[in-house]
Every structure is written in C-alpha cells, then in structure tokens.
C-alpha cells in the first residue's frame, strides 16, 4: 500500500506536475508505443539470429533484423583477415589489453609496477600478434584487423602521444620564447586541421618525405599520424592541469633550489597529471572513436571489417544491422570509460578536499 502510494506520489511529482508536464508525458508514452514497440519487434522478436545461407533474412527483410549477419561474420569483424586458425592470438591480445585497461583503472594499482605491467603486456601483445617466435607463425601486420587493430591503434597511439604531450605542454608554458612559439605553432596547427588531412598526409605524403629506398608500412604511417594528432590534444589537457597548480607550488620548488626538471618531475607534474586524469580519459575516448577514421585510408579496423562484412552479395542490404552492431561495440568501450572518468573525478575531488584535514590531524 505504502509502496504504491510512493509510486503514485513519485509519478505525480515527476511526471504529472501540472498540465504541461502531463501532456508531455502522455506524448512521450504515445511515441514510445508507436516507435519503440515496432523497433523492439524488429530487433528482438522477429529477428533472425542464425541463418548461414541468408534465405530467412531475405524473407524477413524489413520485418525482422538480420543478426545472422553478425553470427556469420563475427570472426571477420573481430579479427579481420588474420589467419583463421591462429585467431586465438588476437583474441588473447584483446583480453590482455582489456586486462591492462582494468588494472590501470584501479587506484590501488597506481604504483610503479604498473608501468612494468604495461611494458610486459605490450611486449606479450607484440609477440602474440606478430608471432615468429615460440613456434608461432609469423603474421605480417597487413593482415591484422578488426577490433584487435582498433584497440591497438588507440592504445599505442596514446602510449606514445602522452610523453610527447607533456613536453609540448611544458614547452607551451616555457619562458623561452622560441620553445614556446614552436610548441604553440605545433599544437594549433594540428588542432586546426581535421584528422583526415593528417591521415592523408601520412598515407600519401610521408613516402615522399623519406629518402629513396626507405619505406614505412601503412599501419605504422597511420599510427604515426594518430600519435602526432593525439599529442596536440593531450598537450592542451596537460597544460590545463599545469595552470591549475597554484603559483606557490612553483615558487616553493624554486625556493628549495630544485632545478627546472626536478621541480617539474617531483612537484608540479605529479599534481598536475593527477587532476588532469578525468579530462585525459575524455580525450582518450575521443581518440578511440577517431581510430575509426583509418577506414578512409584503407586500414582494416573494426569499422572497415563491419563495412566489408556487408559487401558479399548475399549479405548486402543489412547495413543498419551491421552499423548498429559496430555502434554497440564502440559504445561499450566508450561508455564504460566515460563512467569511469566521472567517478574518478568525484573521488579525486573528495580526496583532494580531505588531504589538509588529514595533515592537520
């Protein structure tokens, strides 16, 4: 009884408070009835889940979703054209990457050994993906693809862009004019142009830049472009963190007689990076989404494999299903990261607020 009155009271307050709100609520319920129910029907109840020869999908076209496409093509979508019998290797590499993400997210693991874990993890991933040792067949990186490639592009991109971005941020706040101009010029140049133009540059122009005979493969070229791109955006976040550190900290470090690099390394950067972690995660989310652009220069990332999966004649015409699936995969990664960054922001803010009290006691 009290529960139902609670529910009624709640809905009176939040859904039907006044005629305007009531009207809007009823309109939304009506729309949900008209749109969400047919969608549910299409996506779940009338959907085809398993259908190797695409006959049932043809018959159900327009009535039910053809998730059988994903069932049939999931190996291609996840791992691209990696040799079929060796696909446990990229699968394992993806698991290692996800495990690295998870331990990096736990504050209890923010210890020096975390860096070692990353080095070891990335090394293991390199061995798994390339092979050529421990009896693993060598797989050249033209055949890497799918989700594994997307995660690798994003992870390596950030891993290399981050140190570069710290240098750029310090350079932008430097008192030496030439260093400052060079950093500002770089950051603004990169941030002013779309990523596509950098990717084009990497795929078309980079071969022209290098001396005769020296070639860099396509994946590495794209990776370099993404690192240069990410560094400019990360640098702005790091600069924000540096600016948030009170002047007193800089002056105190100087008063102690610390050199520039010592005061940055021991006093300023640890504090500045700590408060910039949430915005850094946000840049990482954007960067993770941006890896999908390598499709345009012909790399086999997750989005490309999804696009390729609907080019086989019997599976054409299921673009909506394919892209919904791709959206779901990207969403799972990005949404969990954004939730994490929000939670972290709250917990970092509260621990920062607690510190002086602890010191006093």
């Amino acid at each position: 009884m009290s529960l139902s009155r609670g529910a009624i009271g709640w809905s009176r307050e939040n859904l039907f408070s006044g005629w305007g709100n009531t009207l809007v609520t009823l309109l939304i319920i009506w729309l949900a009835w008209k749109l969400a129910l047919p969608f549910f029907d299409w996506a779940i109840t009338k959907a085809i889940w398993v259908d190797p020869d695409a006959q049932a999908c043809r018959a159900a076209k327009g009535v039910g979703a053809c998730w059988a496409l994903i069932t049939e093509k999931h190996r291609l979508i996840l791992f691209g054209t990696y040799p079929f019998e060796a696909q446990w290797r990229p699968a394992l590499a993806v698991l290692v990457l996800v495990a690295l993400y998870i331990i990096s997210a736990l504050r209890a693991c923010w210890r020096p050994w975390l860096a070692l874990a990353w080095v070891a993890g990335l090394g293991a991933i390199g061995v798994l993906m390339w092979g050529g040792v421990f009896g693993l067949v060598y797989v050249e990186n033209e055949r890497w693809g799918g989700l594994a490639l997307t995660l690798l592009l994003a992870t390596f991109g950030i891993a290399f862009a981050f140190p570069l971005s710290i240098l750029l941020a310090l350079g932008r706040r430097s008192e030496m004019p030439i260093i400052r101009w060079l950093s500002v010029g770089y950051i603004e140049l990169i941030r002013g142009v779309p990523l596509i133009s950098l990717l084009f540059m990497a795929s078309v122009m980079l071969p022209l830049f290098l001396p005769e005979g020296l070639t860099v493969d396509k994946l590495l070229r794209a990776q370099i472009a993404m690192i240069l791109f990410a560094a400019a955006y990360l640098a702005e976040v790091v600069r924000g963190g540096l600016q948030a550190i009170p002047r007193g900290q800089y002056e105190a470090a100087q008063a102690l007689g610390l050199s520039y690099w010592k005061s940055m390394g021991f006093i300023i950067l640890p504090q500045a990076l700590r408060i910039s972690i949430p915005p850094l995660v946000n840049v990482f989310i954007g960067f993770f989404k941006d890896t999908s652009l390598v499709l345009i220069i012909g790399l086999f990332d997750l989005l490309t494999t999804v696009k390729v999966s609907i080019t086989e004649p019997k599976w054409t015409g299921y673009g909506v299903e394919a892209y919904l699936f791709a959206s779901a995969v990207y969403f799972v990664f990005c949404f969990s990261m954004s939730r994490y960054s929000q939670a972290l922001e709250v917990s970092l803010a509260s621990s920062a607020a607690r510190t002086p009290v602890k010191e006093a006691g």
Binding site: L15, E188, I196, V204, G319, F331
Partner: protein, 384 residues
C-alpha cells in the same frame, strides 16, 4: 650574460638555438628528400594543375555552376561551397536542437530528463563515422524507391534517392524584399543602440527588441505586398525514375547533415546544461528578491552569466562540426576534402592537394579562434 653553461640565461639561449636548429634541420631534411623524390617520379610541383581541365563530374553543386570541362580550381571552389553549405546549416540546426535537449535534460519531468540524457550518452559514445554510415544505410537501403516514396507532409517525398522538398519559385522582384530586409536590420540595430544610450542617460527603458523584431518582419512583408505578392511553390513531381522540380537533398547530403547535427547537438546540449547550472542559485533568488519578473531574471541575470561559460566551448563545437564535415569523403558527399582527394588521385599532386585542405581548415579555425579571443575579452568578468 656569461658564455658558460652555468649561466641560466646562456643555457636558455642554448636550448632555444638547439631546438630551432633541430626543427629547421628536420624540415630541411624532409624537404630535400621530397624534392629528390619528386624529381625521381617526374612530378612537377606547383599549383599549375589548378588551371587544367578537371574532367570529372560533381554530384551536387551549391551556388556555383560546374561541369566536367571546368578546371580544378573551380572544382575545389565547388567543394569549398559544399563544405560551407553543410557546415552553416549544420551549425544552426545543431545549436537549436542542442539547446533544446540541454534544457530538456534539466526538465522537472523525469521522462524528458532521462530521455535526453540517454540520447546524449548514446550519441557521444559512438564514433561519428559509424553514425554517418548508419544514416546513409537507413536512407539508401531502407527507404522505398521514388515510386513508393514516403510523403509525411504533402509535397515532401522521402525516398532512397534523397529527400525532395518544394521550393518557392524565385521572382525578380524578390530582390526588393531582400533589400527591405537588410534596411530593416540596419534600422533595428540603430534603434537598439539609441535605446541603450537613452537608458544609460535617463534610465528610461524602451522595448527595442520587440520594436526591432516588428520592423524586421514588417518591412520585408510590406515590400512583398507592394510588389504584388508574386508567389508560386514548385512541388517536386515524379518523372520517370526520380523526382523533378523542387529541391532535392541527395542521400549523401542528408546523411551527412543528419549525422553531424545529431552528433554535435549532443555535445552542445551538455555545454548548455553546464552553462545554466554554472549560475549559482543565489543569483536567481537575489534577482527575484529585487522584484525582477521571471523573464527579466533569465534575460538580465542568468543568461549573461551562463553565456560567458557557454560561448567559448560552443564556438569550438562549431569548429568541430566544420572539421568533422570532412568525413563526407567516406560517404561520397563532394566536400573540399573529397574533391581535393579526387584531384590528388588524378594528378598525383599530393602535397599541393593536402596543402589546400589544410590551408582551408586552418583559415577557418584561426578566424574562429580570433573571434573567440575578441569575444572573451569583451565579456570577461571585470573584477575589482
């Protein structure tokens, strides 16, 4: 300054010279390589190719007529116009929709607030390129052909060949209406300046906004009636396999516009919400305590403070939308990147082509950030 590494000023100078030398050295190395490579491949550098015949058709043109016999410069100009077309419409639409969703997220109605926050979360966490492909797939695969086109409103047809909408037939006398509109804008601007000066002088208020709005609506309307109100709607009609008459939004343009607007609106909604929330509750209460009417509270107290928070990230979203419109190349809308890419493939002039793309976007970004600096200075909080 002593010339020894112990002198801080000497060290600073040394570092700077070294950094500059390194950058110049790397650039010089790359340029020498490039020149050698270009000679080896017999590619003539320079912008001479711009005056050569392009030889490819462009699916849609805006404002500029174009044919395959025109030169590359004109083709690139068409691409630029197409970029501006999608960016301008996109910016306006995304601002309106984003503001609406931002306010909806603050609604007291639980369903409205939850729906808009779900929209924001889903859109922001899926790459724009996936969304563009999704919209393109919906339009080109799932809409019926022109013969069975959906017609939600009479005269509007949605089919897999694009969206056909009616347009008003241009009449020569319409330029008078346009002139009247420009004149009305000028008059309204003068009136508001006069009203502000008078209020500063005497304290008397004048409803400059409503008067101005009245003039801006009435003058063109009067001009329209004075020229005899010529008006004819061109409604698209099915002719053969496609529609003729009216205006047609191609599937590529429609998908790009829907994708960009939906995506950017989600970011704008968050900015608007944060801006409104940034104004302390006490401000509203203090303004009400002074006896201001709710509309005045919003206009004179909340908005000026919220806008200070909203406008800088908003302009960077406009910039993002413009940069993101370069994804057009993936679904085949002929924007500047797409045309430059075709030109690169045909002529091999990669450096020049990419240089043009970068120059275009850098010009846009630098002008927007110049505007933002000016605006920030203008509205910056004047503290004691």
């Amino acid at each position: 300054m002593r010339f020894s590494p112990r002198d801080a000023r000497f060290r600073a100078l040394l570092y700077q010279v070294l950094a500059l030398a390194a950058v110049v050295g790397v650039l010089a190395y790359l340029v020498t390589n490039t020149i050698a490579n270009l000679e080896a491949r017999k590619i003539a550098s320079g912008f001479a190719f711009l005056s050569r015949e392009a030889g490819f058709e462009i699916g849609e043109t805006s404002f500029i007529s174009y044919g395959a016999a025109d030169n590359y410069a004109r083709a690139l100009l068409v691409g630029l116009a197409n970029t501006f077309r999608v960016a301008l419409i996109g910016v306006v639409a995304a601002t309106v929709i984003g503001t609406f969703i931002g306010f909806a997220r603050l609604s007291s109605n639980w369903l409205v607030a939850k729906l808009s926050s779900a929209y924001i979360e889903v859109i922001r966490n899926v790459p724009l390129l996936v969304q563009l492909f999704f919209w393109y797939a919906i339009i080109s695969e799932n809409l019926p052909g022109p013969r069975q086109a959906l017609s939600p409103v009479s005269g509007v047809f949605l089919s897999n060949r694009g969206f056909a909408v009616p347009v008003i037939e241009w009449h020569a006398a319409y330029q008078w209406v346009l002139a009247a509109f420009v004149l009305a804008l000028l008059v309204a601007w003068r009136i508001s300046a006069w009203a502000r000066a008078r209020q500063a002088r005497t304290g008397q208020q004048f409803h400059a906004f409503w008067t101005g709005l009245g003039i801006v609506v009435a003058l063109p309307l009067l001009a329209f009636i004075a020229i005899g109100a010529p008006f004819r709607l061109i409604v698209p009609e099915l002719a053969g396999f496609n529609f003729s008459g009216g205006a047609t939004l191609t599937p590529e343009f429609a998908a790009l516009l829907i994708g960009l607007v939906a995506y950017t609106a989600a970011f704008i909604a968050e900015i608007v919400r944060a801006g409104i929330l940034s104004v302390h509750r006490g401000q509203t209460e203090a303004a009400s305590a002074l006896g201001l009417r709710p509309s005045f509270v919003l206009r004179l107290v909340i908005l000026p403070q919220a806008l200070r928070v909203i406008v800088p990230p908003l302009t960077s979203q406009y910039l993002n939308l413009t940069k993101n419109s370069s994804l057009a190349v993936a679904i085949g809308y002929p924007d500047i990147v797409s045309i430059a890419n075709t030109a690169i493939n045909q002529t091999g002039q990669a450096i020049e082509g990419i240089g043009i793309i970068m120059a275009v976007y850098l010009t846009i970004s630098l002008s927007i950030s110049a505007f933002m600096n000016w605006y920030n200075k203008r509205i910056a909080l004047v503290e004691r």
